[in-house]
Amino acid sequence: MALQTVTVPVRNLDAIRSGKENATSMTAMQTMASKMWKVLLVMGFMIVAVSFIIGIFNGIAIGEFFGETKAVREASPNYENFGTVQAVVAWLPGFKLFGVGLMLGGITMTLATILGNLRVAGANVQAALGAEVKLPIPPTIAKVFPLMMMMGVMTLLAVFGIGVWLSGLAGDVYGNAISDVSAAPAGSALLADIGTINAVKAWLTPMEFLGMAFLFTGITLALATIVTVLRFQASRLVEIAAEKTA
């Protein structure tokens, strides 16, 4: 199916040919993406790096916890800050994946910036060649991919938020002596909390993947939009050549 186009009037051809002006500008979304992609990539990388450092410290704490016999470890409440260790284990994966999500969001915005540059350069070339400047009306996939990216980042932010809430519960539960945790009777609040921690963990990891899936869908659709634009540019050149020979 042929793409629908919109014709843009050429105002100052000399300025376009000399590179001082552009025949058209990027869309609002593309302009925002061209400013934000670096921020998202840097923020995402920083979050992942901080997660790694926190992971090292948590690893050291776990190592210290296992520096004593099982009997000693399980008898004392919050032995070697075990509650804190378990709290960190609850929120750290969500935090780390939020960082990865921001980086994938940054990649999606880079692709939107590429699309913006294709739009501007395509319009400039058409104007410079003395032809009518025709631009494709963004197809549905071009409108959907930024939404997918946002849904992905929001899902991963929600996962992180749930992880933070869960860490409070995990800190409380594992702040008790492990022997008490193991002996929690049926119907007790402690056992209910243990059940909640394990139940939430069972669906929280698939939810992380759901967020990633939204982000990958956004990237795939952005790439598909680039294909559509490149093919439009090729067909427009052939069309202009046909107009010249007619």
Binding site: A199, V200, A213
Partner: protein, 129 residues
Amino acid sequence: MVSADLQRRVNGSEPALKNVGYALMLVGMMIIVAAFVIGIALGLSTADLFENSKSVRDSAAVGDSILSQQGTIAATAAWLTPFKFIGLSSFLGGIGIMLLVIINSLKLRGEAMLQSLPIILGIDQKSAE
């Protein structure tokens, strides 16, 4: 004159390979959504299991529903992670195919420039040679 073959290719339908990219993306999304739904079911089953104290769970006898439930939860968790990664792989396959289609589209645009620009700019190709 732009060749008829090039005209057919630039004005024809989008490459079939692009649809393969879409298909892989959809398969990936379906797998991840299925994994999420299974995860919710696993969470409900886990919550149900943890209504029993540890001593009851640990002393469950063969044939006991609690033991069977523990087995199901552990077995499902074991295959659910690789299943989710199949979904992610499907997405990455789709992205790889889309990049391949971009390479082909860049080649097509290059061909269009090669044949169209001399005509548009009025350059005699034979004298240029």
